[in-house]
């Protein structure tokens, strides 16, 4: 039962498993598709940001326009967009480190994702304070109603996104924590 395993025999069996021929044209198409998809997502983020800011500025009557409200809108979307970019492009840079280092960086990034949800929730709460204050100040007008409707809609969207993103990040944290603990056993080199 406990006889030693003959790795040389297993290696010969293992190396029998030959991969499919790589279709370079299909791979190029896949790369183009992924690049297009990234471009569309980024373009959509820019358009949505521009529309929201334009809509907000337009909805607030001239004399009541609060620079702080607009500043909060910009900050909220700028932070969310830049964090998304940071997340996307960090993937490529870290791909060539050793697997132990990769797992450590991945754990740090997964923990950062949880912080991102908290930051976005904090920004949203601050934004809500300003929007509700503004809504109370101009209550009865269309602008106040629109601002509160926007707040409710964006709050629902943010909550859904936060629930999904946070759950995924928590799962990654627990997976990478277990992986790192196991990989640190015996100690990494250097």
């Amino acid at each position: 039962m406990n006889e030693p395993l003959d790795l040389e025999t297993l290696a010969a069996e293992w190396r029998h498993d030959a991969g499919p021929a790589v279709d370079m044209d299909a791979l190029r198409s896949e790369l183009r598709r992924r690049n297009r998809s990234t471009t569309w997502v980024v373009a959509a983020e820019i358009v949505v940001t521009a529309l929201l800011v334009a809509w907000t500025v337009g909805a607030v009557p001239g004399p009541s326009r609060s620079p702080l409200l607009i500043a909060w809108m910009w900050t909220y979307w700028a932070v969310a967009t830049s964090l998304a970019w940071w997340n996307r492009f960090g993937q490529i840079r870290r791909s060539v480190v050793s697997p132990a280092a990769f797992a450590r960086v991945s754990l740090a990034r997964a923990r950062a994702k949880i912080r991102v949800v908290r930051i976005v929730a904090g920004l949203f709460a601050a934004q809500a304070v300003f929007v509700l204050a503004y809504g109370a100040r101009v209550s009865g007008s269309g602008a106040g109603g629109s601002a509160v409707a926007f707040l409710v809609a964006s709050g629902l969207g943010t909550a859904l996104w936060g629930w999904w993103y946070h759950g995924r990040a928590r799962h990654q944290v627990s997976t990478y924590e277990a992986m790192c603990a196991e990989m640190e056993e015996g100690g990494p080199k250097g």
């Binding site: 039962m1 406990n2 030693p4 395993l5 790795l7 297993l10 290696a11 069996e13 293992w14 190396r15 029998h16 498993d17 030959a18 991969g19 499919p20 021929a21 790589v22 370079m24 791979l27 896949e30 790369l31 992924r34 490529i92 870290r94 791909s95 060539v96 480190v97 050793s98 697997p99 132990a100 280092a101 990769f102 797992a103 991945s106 997964a110 799962h171 990654q172 997976t175 990478y176 992986m179 196991e182 990989m183 056993e185 015996g186 100690g187 990494p188 080199k189 250097g190």
Partner: protein, 166 residues
């Protein structure tokens, strides 16, 4: 284009080993094909930054195993018991090959999938014919640590193969 030339070289030299790395992290055949494509895309993207600071082999295996780790972290929630739908088939048919040999290879693949990355990585690299020093270089470990992990991996593999034996 330098990047395309390097990538073609990677595919020519490491296409089959990369397919086997994908097999070690995937759940089934479809998952393996997806991961294989992801590894190739990751290598294409990373190839632009390859400056020869490490050997091409180190570079390729690091990118592939890191992609495998990510795949496990993302897919683990959907992970299920390995199913027997990823039979190991040689590209060149060998008249001497029989059903029993294929079944053995498939059992080996499924046993490797059950190992944690810590044990699976050095074992897969050893099965590719790399020595402890090369494995240590790729995994960023001391050669002594690699030897310890290989012993543990070998024991775990023996147990998994024994469980899977008909």
């Amino acid at each position: 284009m330098a990047r395309e030339g390097l990538f073609r070289r990677i595919v020519d030299e490491f296409g089959d080993p990369l397919w086997r790395v994908a097999g070690g992290y995937a759940n089934d055949r479809d998952d393996r094909e997806d991961l294989y494509q992801d590894i190739l895309v990751a290598l294409w993207q990373a190839a632009e930054g390859f400056r020869g600071d490490s050997s091409l082999r180190t570079f390729v295996y690091r990118v592939a195993h890191n992609r495998g780790i990510s795949h496990r972290a993302y897919e683990q929630r959907r992970r299920h018991e390995p199913v027997d739908d990823d039979p190991v088939v040689s590209r060149l048919p060998d008249p001497l090959e029989n059903v029993e040999a294929e079944a053995t290879r498939t059992r080996l693949l499924h046993a490797i999938r059950q190992l944690s990355p810590t044990l699976g990585q050095p074992l897969m690299l050893r099965l590719e014919g790399l020595d402890n020093a090369e494995i240590a270089q790729i995994l960023g470990l001391r050669p002594g640590t690699v030897a310890v992990r290989l012993t543990r991996a070998r024991n775990a593999l023996r147990d998994h193969l024994a469980e899977a034996s008909p």
